[in-house]
């Protein structure tokens, strides 16, 4: 039986677990930089070679993730509620990587060996006991969340690519059939692993609300040198089988709906989650008014304009404004998307949903806020615990 949070609180209160000592110890070993995770993974793989295959060939990014997670855990070790939510997410997230309960013991042993190795003369039996207790708590919260998640859904879904369309030079649209059927909220995303790039997962949003046939639509933009996006935008992806992680994300309509009209701002393939929300709105009995701004660098990048215009012709509550960057040839709005949105009037009474390149989204959010839109009316994707 894993130790409970109450046990942790009691122990903290009784000063049996010295948080200050843990932090000092971590600050000391952290001066070793990349050597720390390097030692940890090498120790783990030597003692448990079978664990190696759960990881990608290059471990460089992985080492960064490990240190980031440790930093977060150590810095939040005395705010139990925040830490618990983070660890539960981490535990559920690790199911798709193939992590099982036995791995947690192996990881704990290697983590302690690593800390001992880098602590030098500062390593004492008391410190070892503190670290051991802290790791046991971390591991028990993660495994408990993973176990609870097992009751609800698979660790990952098989997803067959049933259709592939190249819409622009660097944008493809995939239709994927998940097995078993996947339930999710419009606006959510899943991590995708392509068969040609094992152990590399990237998040993509479903571009449709759940359909009767269960198909998922994904919009993929080719990133220069991006291994997963290159595989997914290539014609060779047709008919292959992907792996899909569980749906995550909170870029979803409030439930019940707020009653306010909607402002949707999509840059490039940031359109996907917002199109799923459009799908959902279209099924409402009394749809709110929706204004969708869809921006891209060039007219070529407005890869889904045809289907959006069809929707706009069909639904009178929907208005579409496409826009491209200044200096591009386009019959319509040109300029930066936040500028174009601002030119179209006062949006402060609407609920705004934004997705797309980070800079564009940040700029647009700042403009909406300064134009008087309240924080709780602005919705952007927040991966929280799984933010890179």
């Amino acid at each position: 039986m894993p130790r409970s949070l109450n046990w942790w609180r009691r122990r903290r209160k009784a000063r049996l677990l010295d948080v200050v000592r843990l932090r000092e110890s971590f600050a000391h070993v952290a001066t070793h930089g990349d050597e720390l995770p390097l030692f940890f993974y090498s120790d783990l793989f030597i003692k448990h070679p079978e664990v190696r295959e759960l990881f990608p060939v290059s471990m460089a990014a992985q080492r960064g993730h490990l240190v980031d997670a440790l930093v977060k855990i150590v810095s939040q070790v005395d705010s139990v509620n925040d830490l618990t939510a983070f660890l539960q997410g981490l535990g559920r997230d690790h199911r798709k990587f193939g992590a099982v309960a036995e791995h947690y013991d192996a990881v704990g042993a290697s983590l302690l060996a690593t800390l001992e190795h880098f602590s030098g003369s500062a390593w004492t039996p008391e410190l070892a006991a503190d670290w051991k207790a802290a790791y046991e708590l971390v591991g028990s919260v993660m495994t408990a969340a993973a176990r609870a998640d097992e009751e609800l859904r698979p660790a990952w879904w098989r997803g067959t690519v049933v259709a592939y369309e190249r819409r622009a030079f660097d944008v493809s649209v995939l239709f994927v059939r998940p097995e078993p059927r996947m339930d999710y909220l419009p606006g959510q995303s899943v991590a995708i692993e392509s068969p040609s790039r094992p152990k590399l997962w990237r998040y993509y949003s479903m571009a449709n609300a759940p359909r009767r046939d269960g198909l998922l639509e994904f919009h993929i933009r080719l990133i220069d040198g991006g291994a997963v996006s290159m595989a997914l935008t290539s014609a060779a992806i047709a008919d292959t089988e992907l792996r899909l992680g569980p749906p995550v994300g909170a870029l979803t309509l409030s439930d019940p709906v707020s009653g306010r009209d909607l402002l949707l701002i999509a840059g490039s393939t940031g359109l996907a989650p917002l199109k799923a929300i459009l799908d959902q709105v279209a099924a409402l009995e009394q749809p709110p008014r929706v204004h969708l701004f869809f921006g891209a660098r060039t007219a070529d990048g407005l890869y889904d304009l045809d289907s959006l215009e069809k929707m706009a012709a069909q639904y009178q509550w929907l208005t579409i404004t496409p826009a491209v960057s200044a200096g591009s040839r386009f019959v319509g709005e040109t300029g930066s998307l936040p500028d174009v949105v601002a030119r179209h009037g006062d949006w402060s009474t609407r609920d705004a949903y934004l997705a797309g390149p980070t800079e564009m989204v940040q700029e647009a959010v700042a403009r909406l806020a300064s134009a008087g839109m309240a924080q709780d009316q602005i919705h952007i994707e927040d991966f929280g615990w799984s933010e890179p």
């Binding site: 995770p37 120790d43 990014a61 080492r63 993730h65 291994a227 290539s234």
Partner: protein
Amino acid sequence: MERALTTAWFDEESRLTPEELQTVTFPMSRLGRRGYEEEPVQGFLRAVHAEFVRLVNERTSLWQDVQRLRRRIIAGEAGGDPDGVLFGKEDAHIHAVRILSTAQVTADRYVADAQAYSSRVTEEARLRRDDIMREAQQHSDMLLEDAHTRAREAAVSALNVAPPPQTDRERQAAQAELAYLRTYSDVYRAHLRAYTEGVLRGIEEWERKEAASLQDRPQGHTDRRSIGH
């Protein structure tokens, strides 16, 4: 100092020396502002930090060696196995960890190189594609502009020249001009079509090659958010 302001500081091989700390110079910032240029100073501080991390690691590793040897010697004096003084099981494990770590870092570098190469190739392809598109666009603009100018000229001359009562001769001339214009427009259209088809063929060919080469060639890459255990 000669080695200043290069990325050489970040290389594994070139180490920062105490001498360099004494002789380092920085360029002054532009006129109107006092002090050094910020970026070279920041770069230098990063190099000093990297050097410190390395020194700390080396120091720890040496300290551990000393401790281990001291323990063994004490054990040896107490009647232990004298051969075990220098080499123990623990040493072998630490040694193995170091070898595996070095191998992993080498593998990471290969993957990073391959990824940088692939990124460069895609970027070049993208730029080349933009060039081709721009060129095609200019070509088509030119053709359109030309056709437009000629059509306007034809219309203007038709308005100005043709008086209501036309002689047979004049009608014949007008028909001849009309025929000429039609031919002209057909020729332009044919040109435009051939050019556009050429470009499209090029793109399809490229796509086909890309699909074929991607099928043969599996690659590796690092992920953006798979968090370690």
